[in-house]
């Protein structure tokens, strides 16, 4: 479903600020794979997401989605195939527009936009049904401006919007990191529910190791622009945080930089 072949990304090449953000990364995802990604700050996780979504263009290598090489497609042309939720709860929605208008924009993602009204009776019913699955009561606030929602509610809405049209690939970049623990748990549970329901091929970056172990069928660890560990489903089941940290030390010869990582 998703294939990254030999991806190289260098920032500020040839200057003193030169930074190899991704160093010949290879990654294959099968349809329905739910892969969690962990790694220290600056490991290249967000860069990887941006390469897939087309925000960044790789210096070498190819990105393939559903058998199609998308290197030359700009971000907005890849977007019908890719759902994204960002870390910042403000980033995934339009604050001055209403809940139903935001959903209408998500609904139109894989369709041609026309001069038809974005919200009509039939769609409003559909939006309401979808919102009910969040159990946040948002279905009763269709005409509320999204800017009035709490961070957790906005992130839940972002997640719903990102998955509304069941994209071929879902990219989640630390989408629970800016929330307090109870909200983060809510969004984590919703993520699991939605991904499983639609069998979405998903890449989820998290700094929460327990979350990375609990969710998904495969775990990847990144460091210095490389995938240093790739744990398949059978092994992931028995993996613990201690085991992960020990594995990192064995591979890199140093302790995992856990300044931000949540160990438990």
């Amino acid at each position: 479903m998703l294939k990254l072949n030999n991806i190289l990304k260098i920032f500020n090449e040839g200057t003193i600020d030169e930074k190899i953000a991704l160093s010949h990364v290879n990654l294959h995802l099968n349809p329905g794979d739910f892969v969690t990604i962990i790694g220290s700050n600056g490991a290249g996780k967000s860069t990887l997401m941006n390469i897939i979504s087309g925000v960044l263009i790789p210096d070498e290598g190819t990105v393939e989605i559903d058998g199609q090489v998308v290197n030359n497609l700009p971000e907005y042309k890849r977007a019908p195939m890719i759902g994204r939720v960002f870390q910042d709860p403000m980033a995934g929605t339009s604050p001055t527009m209403t809940i139903e208008e935001n959903l209408a924009m998500a609904y139109a993602r894989d369709k041609k936009r026309t001069l038809k009204l974005g919200v009509n009776k039939k769609r409003r019913e559909l939006f309401r049904e979808y919102l009910e699955t969040l159990h946040l009561g948002l279905e009763n606030r269709l005409n509320a401006k999204v800017g009035l929602l709490s961070g957790g509610e906005r992130q839940a809405l972002s997640l719903l919007m990102a998955t509304f049209t069941q994209p071929k690939v879902l990219l989640l970049d630390e989408h629970t990191a800016a929330l307090d623990p109870s909200r983060a748990r809510l969004i984590t549970d919703l993520t699991k529910e939605i991904v499983e329901k639609h069998h979405l091929t998903t890449l989820m970056v998290t700094h929460n190791m327990q979350q990375a172990l609990d969710l998904g069928n495969r775990l990847i660890m990144m460091d210095s622009g490389q995938i240093i560990l790739d744990v398949p489903e059978e092994k992931k089941k028995d993996l613990t945080i201690e085991g992960l940290l020990a594995e990192f030390e064995r591979l890199r010869g140093e302790k995992f930089a856990s300044d931000r990582a949540i160990l438990g």
């Binding site: 980033a91 929605t93 604050p95 209408a104 998500a106 026309t114 038809k116």
Partner: protein, 305 residues
């Protein structure tokens, strides 16, 4: 006085079309577009030249709208494809349009007296009706407002609103924000040029300098309107913008009445906009200060007691 008040209403509704255009860029796209000073005159120029060359005034006025579309699209392209900052892109268009408008007109001023215009035709059609221009123009503005409201609720319109609000997000929903910006700036200047065409016909002439200061008048209308009538929804805000344009013309009429010089009008307009931009912040910081002083007083009273 009553007569000049009706005159102010009349010009207010014509200017309201321009102000709706400014609303589209300034508020919806979050794109401060200065093309307006040029495109208003482009509208007047195109309509006047066509009218004196024997075209129907209706065709001429609609042609002015399309000329405005093209001019606006040019500014939009400068910004999106040329990566030129919005303010500078608008200024460049505005300056270029000065020469282009002179080329269109062939001279600095074209008189329309003795020619059939939209305005003269309305007047001769409703002879027994008081203030026919005011009422037909008000109706026209209202129809345009409804069209703008409708457009902003369509799938494309929603994408345009999100472009001004959160471009990163709407790109992730497969919208080419370059296109929505170009379309929005084009539509905005189409309305501005349409307004310029009607204005030149109601004045009886088109002048190459008729657009100078128009952007500030448009901004004043948007800001005054929103402050007086509120902007809680699009439908409310577009109505408010029309109200703001009319209030602006009434204020000008009164100012002239009490003896202000016509040449001071631009200064006055600028002062109104400056005041309207600063006032909300001033009142907020005043309230904040008062709140703090109150707390301090209560706290020290608590200490003593």
């Amino acid at each position: 006085m009553v007569h000049s008040l009706f005159g102010a209403f009349e010009s207010g509704v014509i200017f309201a079309i321009m102000a709706l255009g400014v609303y589209l860029t300034f508020r919806i796209l979050n794109f401060p577009d200065l093309t307006v000073d040029g495109s208003f005159a482009t509208g007047g120029a195109v309509a006047a030249v066509m009218i004196v060359n024997g075209f129907s005034p209706y065709v001429s006025t609609i042609a002015a709208f399309f000329a405005g579309l093209a001019v606006g699209a040019f500014t939009g392209i400068l910004h999106t494809k040329g990566k030129i900052n919005p303010l500078l892109a608008g200024i460049l268009s505005m300056i270029a349009l000065w020469s282009i408008n002179l080329r269109i007109m062939g001279k600095a001023n074209i008189g329309l007296l003795g020619h059939d215009t939209v305005i003269s035709q309305i007047k001769s059609f409703f002879t027994s009706f008081p203030y026919p221009i005011l009422f037909t123009m008000a109706l026209l503005v209202f129809i345009i407002k409804l069209l703008v409201d409708w457009f902003l609720d369509t799938e494309i319109g929603l994408a345009m609103r999100a472009t001004g609000d959160n471009p990163r997000m709407i790109r992730s929903f497969a919208v080419n924000t370059d296109n929505t910006i170009i379309l929005g700036v084009a539509l905005s200047n189409g309305l501005v040029a349409f307004s310029g065409a009607l204005w030149s016909q109601s004045q009886g002439f088109a002048d190459v300098s008729m657009g100078i200061g128009m952007i500030i008048i448009g901004l004043a209308s948007v800001i005054i309107g929103e402050a007086v009538f509120g902007d809680r929804s699009i439908k409310r805000a577009t109505l408010a913008v029309i109200g703001g344009a009319i209030i602006y013309r009434i204020v000008v009429a009164i100012a002239l009445r009490v003896g202000l010089d016509a040449q001071d009008m631009k200064l006055m307009t600028a002062l109104i906009v400056i005041f309207a931009l600063i006032a909300p912040r001033l009142t907020a910081s005043y309230r904040e200060k008062k709140r703090r002083a109150e707390r301090q007083k209560n706290a020290s009273a608590g200490l003593e007691g």
